[in-house]
């Protein structure tokens, strides 16, 4: 650390130098000061900051921090820089501003469940497992879905809605430069369908269906253990290999050739490896499937192969070994070699050498065996992430017993992020859902949209649109989603209807903004208008829930995604 006086001197010297050496960087009067390599703040060179843009709107509904009359939103780049009453948030000099004095501003809408950009063959596919990723099957040219931004939707989540049990992983999409793009802001959930459907099924069949996912989840324990065991085995292998290597390298000088061959094998050995200098003939017993990891010099081996070739051959292009044909890579991660091949009787030489070695050193460590890798299963990998809380699990369930089965599943396997979809009879078990802290995504609110069989038959028949109100009253977090791209443009009307059926208005607005954002794991980035969050703003001609309201402008990531033609 420099002493103050020295530091001052250093700065002075620097200033003098920069001024003297780089006269061309003198800023012209009137322009904002440019940053040189050592700017005024003393930081390293950065790309120029994006300009600040203002948006002034008659009424701003922040969702998280109340309503602001005659408010201003300052945006820079992708984010909201500041937000508040226009009198308290001044517009920086030179910044551009759009003004909508009679309009209303809302956070960009978040659609927690849709089929946008997904071809019907993907959305309705029944034969997926938990490992299939919807993001792989998206159609970016879906014309209808491209219009989503026009309706104010800036974030949407697309998932399989087929009748299979496991529905793979969904895809979180956000408006980007060229329409919607798969975003990595939040972890995509694994979807599960745990319902027998509207038709009455035999109770035993129903019970069987409800238990089925458990079997898959129970297998995870064994899978996880085998993965952990493999990790441990690899560590042990590395240690043993080191010992073995040290032993042979350290002791025997006339076995350097053999030692060098061993060096070329793939393994954990991080020890120094002498570059291949050729010399001694490598023995004929070269295992198949060896792959050099280090650059520079691997002996291909084989008779006449000799030294001097510096090319690594991933597979044995050498003599076919009695151990079998070279085996290819297995699974993700390591490319294991087949220790079996090495161990198989390969001919006299190596075993002869070994015998020699053995004769010389009877307590020499044996060559360690590469541990057999675990066969990876993408479905299990995804479910492991679910159980570890890194990925949410979304489950479609309708009836009371189905919902209870979901909650029980969550408890039994300690699923950290569980989300219910539909929960048609959720009003009857709202307290249980609330206690479990599980949020619900509701899509069917229209009259006649929910089969009567989903609710219990009784005196208290609830109208479909009243489900969010009932859930909310019990303390359950409710998101209202469209269910399909075709219906997304009516998302505000669905929320309005829920409000009319008893859901408090602010909760109804939250149900299409912040709550789905939280369910999708991105509640800290989108879903409300607050400084620091991404600049997703919806500007409408009137209150969002009124039927005659039109969309005036949609901003996503700070860029205008849609602007209504002026009348």
């Amino acid at each position: 650390m420099l002493q103050p006086s020295l530091r001052g001197a250093a700065l002075a010297v620097l200033t003098v130098l920069t001024h003297g050496v780089l006269p061309a960087q003198e800023p012209e009067p009137g322009t904002p000061p440019r940053r040189g390599p050592r700017g005024a703040a003393g930081r390293d060179a950065r790309p120029p900051m994006a300009p600040v843009v203002g948006l002034r709107v008659g009424t701003i509904h922040t969702v998280s921090d109340g309503t602001i009359e005659d408010g201003r939103i300052l945006m820079r780049g992708r984010r909201i820089l500041a937000i508040g009453p226009a009198s308290e948030v001044p517009l920086p000099e030179g910044a551009e501003e759009s003004s909508y004095p009679e309009a209303h501003a809302y956070p960009g809408l978040v659609d927690a469940l849709s089929d946008a950009f997904a071809p019907p063959s993907e959305v309705g596919n029944k034969s997926w497992d938990a490992g299939v990723d919807m993001a792989d099957g998206l159609d970016p040219f879906d014309k209808q879905a491209q219009k989503l931004a026009q309706y104010g939707i800036t974030t949407t989540y697309v998932a399989n809605r087929g009748e299979g049990q496991w529905r793979g992983m969904g895809a979180l999409l956000r408006v980007g430069r060229n329409g919607f793009e798969h975003s990595d802001l939040g972890a995509d959930a694994v979807s599960l369908r745990l319902t027998a459907g509207p038709n009455d099924a035999h109770p035993l069949a129903r019970a069987g269906a409800l238990d089925a996912p458990k079997a898959t989840l129970k297998q995870l324990e064994g899978y996880k253990k085998s993965l952990e065991k493999h990790e441990k085995d690899l560590e042990t292998y590395a240690e043993d290999y080191e010992k073995w290597l040290a032993h042979y390298r350290g002791d025997k000088k006339d076995e350097t050739a053999e030692g060098k061959e061993k060096e070329t094998e793939k393994g954990e050995s991080g020890g120094p490896e002498t570059p291949d200098a050729g010399g001694a003939t490598p023995p004929a017993g070269r295992g198949p499937g060896r792959r050099g990891r280090r650059p520079g010099g691997r002996t291909p081996g084989g008779p006449g192969g000799g030294g001097g070739e510096a090319v690594a051959l991933p597979f044995a292009e050498q003599d076919p070994q009695p151990g079998g044909p070279p085996r290819g890579p297995r699974g993700r991660g390591r490319r294991p070699q087949d220790p079996e091949g090495e161990k198989a009787p390969e001919g006299g030489d190596e075993s002869a050498e070994k015998d020699e070695g053995k004769k010389k050193d009877e307590d020499a460590p044996k060559r360690p065996k590469y541990p057999k890798p675990v066969e990876r299963d993408p479905a299990k990998d995804a479910l492991l992430e679910v159980v570890d809380g890194k990925r949410p699990l979304r489950v479609e369930a309708h009836r009371v017993d189905e919902i209870r089965a979901v909650l029980a599943l969550g408890r039994e396997f300690e699923i950290g992020r569980l989300v219910l979809e539909h929960a048609s009879a959720g009003d009857r078990v709202a307290d249980e859902i609330a206690r479990a802290g599980v949020p619900v995504v509701v899509t069917e609110l229209m009259p006649g949209s929910v089969p009567k069989t989903y609710g219990e038959v009784g005196d208290d028949e609830m109208a479909e649109g009243a489900l969010p109100a009932r859930l909310h009253a019990a303390g359950v977090a409710v998101a209202i989603a469209s269910g399909s791209a075709r219906k997304s443009r009516f998302l505000p009307m669905a929320a309005a209807w829920a409000a009319g059926q008893g859901l408090p208005r602010d909760a109804a607005l939250r149900a299409i903004t912040l709550t789905p954002a939280e369910i999708l794991g991105i509640g800290d980035r989108v879903g409300s208008l607050r400084a620091g969050k991404l600049a997703d703003v919806l500007v409408t001609s009137g209150p969002l829930f009124e039927s005659e309201t039109r969309v005036l402008r949609v901003i996503a990531n700070g860029t205008t995604a849609y602007e209504a033609p002026s009348r």
């Binding site: 229209m446 009259p447 006649g448 005196d459 208290d460 028949e461 609830m462 109208a463 649109g465 009243a466 075709r486 219906k487 009516f490 009307m493 669905a494 309005a496 209807w497 409000a499 009319g500 059926q501 008893g502 208005r505 109804a508 829930f545 009124e546 039927s547 005659e548």
Partner: protein, 375 residues
């Protein structure tokens, strides 16, 4: 003797009068939609004997003070919703399949005043309903205007419109007509017969009334060909039809305007096609009257979706109240808030066309319909 009798009568009369006035109800609110395009902030209704006695500023002061007051501060009052056409879960009772020509059969004869379906409609805001014969035959019969009540429903008018059906359900293999050609030909045959004054009979009489305009004639037609034939018949026999369904009306608005027809549209939902969602606005622009059917929730969604696609406010409110009342022939009793009309009132927390407004109360014939559906 006479003196005491007179006195007794007088006392009784006084008591009755007092009782009648004591049973008056005064409903006040923030805003009142009297009729499409007629709205006022003097939102007050005096209800007496199941009817609206006076509105707003016309309510006499003494009646105001003696009435039972019910105040819905900030709320909006509107006439109870009217749905022109439905079956109330009684399709079986209303379907006469064997004989294609049964114009004199009356739905009122199949009406079940204690039916659950009707009882459920009331508390949601639907106070008048057109119970129609099922579209099982060509000349299906006479619809009835019925109303829900607190304990039981009642028939408001058992002699509403004559319903014809050109849709496919009316054409079966069991009897003539089995095709649209046959159905249309049959209609012509029956109409020609009705014009013949020498023919008599109850069924002929009903058709005659429909042709001379003293009875409303409603035709159930959906496809372009069915609608086209319905309009042809209207043109040929000079009547103004009510077109039920009219799914493909968008293709023939000109003819509809010429025929001075009015429409009854199926509910609009989130799944409706774009043409269907835009149709109401187009019709309103051409001055064509139309109404929505369904339960109150479906009707409100239809109005809201139509408004979203350009339908004006007054036309939307008309589609829920006055127009269906006219199509049912009971516009003198229901469909708007007028003196001497039935006291059918819905009270909303906000604008009825806003889906976010919720229902505060429903009155049918002056009685508060307590909700049988616990909310």
């Amino acid at each position: 003797m006479t003196y005491s009798l007179t006195r007794a009568c007088a006392l009784t009369a006084l008591a009755l009068a007092a009782a009648a006035h004591a049973q008056d109800t005064l409903i006040t609110a923030g805003r009142m939609i009297v009729a499409p395009g007629v709205e006022t902030d003097a939102a007050a209704l005096l209800i007496r004997g199941g009817e609206i006695a006076a509105l707003g500023d016309e309510i006499p002061g003494d009646a105001r003070s003696s009435a039972t007051r019910v105040a819905y501060d900030g709320a909006v009052l509107m006439a109870g919703l009217v749905s022109v056409h439905g079956y109330l879960d009684q399709q079986g009772d209303l379907a006469e399949t064997v004989d294609a020509v049964t114009p004199d059969l009356r739905s009122a004869d199949a009406f079940d005043p204690f039916g659950e379906a009707l009882a459920k409609l009331g508390p949601q805001g639907l106070t008048s309903y057109g119970l129609a014969p099922y579209s099982a035959n060509t000349f299906a019969g006479i619809a009835a205007a019925v109303k829900p009540g607190t304990a039981r429903g009642r028939v408001l008018d058992g002699d509403a419109y004559l319903k014809l059906a050109l849709v496919d359900t009316a054409r079966t293999d069991q009897r003539y007509p089995t095709s649209l050609m046959g159905a249309v030909d049959l209609c012509r045959l029956v109409f020609d017969t009705a014009r013949d004054a020498s023919v008599s009979g109850a069924d002929v009489a009903v058709v005659r009334e429909a042709l001379d305009g003293s009875r409303i004639l409603a035709i159930h037609a959906n496809t372009a060909s069915e609608l086209g034939r319905a309009l042809d018949l209207a043109e040929r026999y000079q009547f103004r039809p009510v077109l039920l369904g009219a799914a493909q009306a968008g293709d023939m608005i000109e003819r509809i305007v010429e025929a001075e027809a009015s429409l009854v549209l199926a509910p609009l939902t989130l799944d409706s096609k774009q043409e269907a969602l835009e149709l109401p606005a187009k019709l309103a622009a051409r001055g064509v009257r139309f109404s929505f059917v369904g339960d109150a929730a479906r009707m409100r969604w239809s109005a809201a979706l139509a408004a979203r696609h350009g339908l004006g406010r007054d036309a939307a409110i008309a589609a829920l109240t006055r127009t269906p009342a006219e199509q049912l022939g009971v516009a003198d009793h229901v469909g708007s808030l007028r003196a001497n009309h039935d006291a059918d009132v819905v009270v909303f927390s906000g604008d009825p066309l806003d889906l976010s407004s919720h229902l505060l109360a429903v009155y049918a014939d002056g009685a508060l319909l307590t909700s049988e559906i616990a909310r």
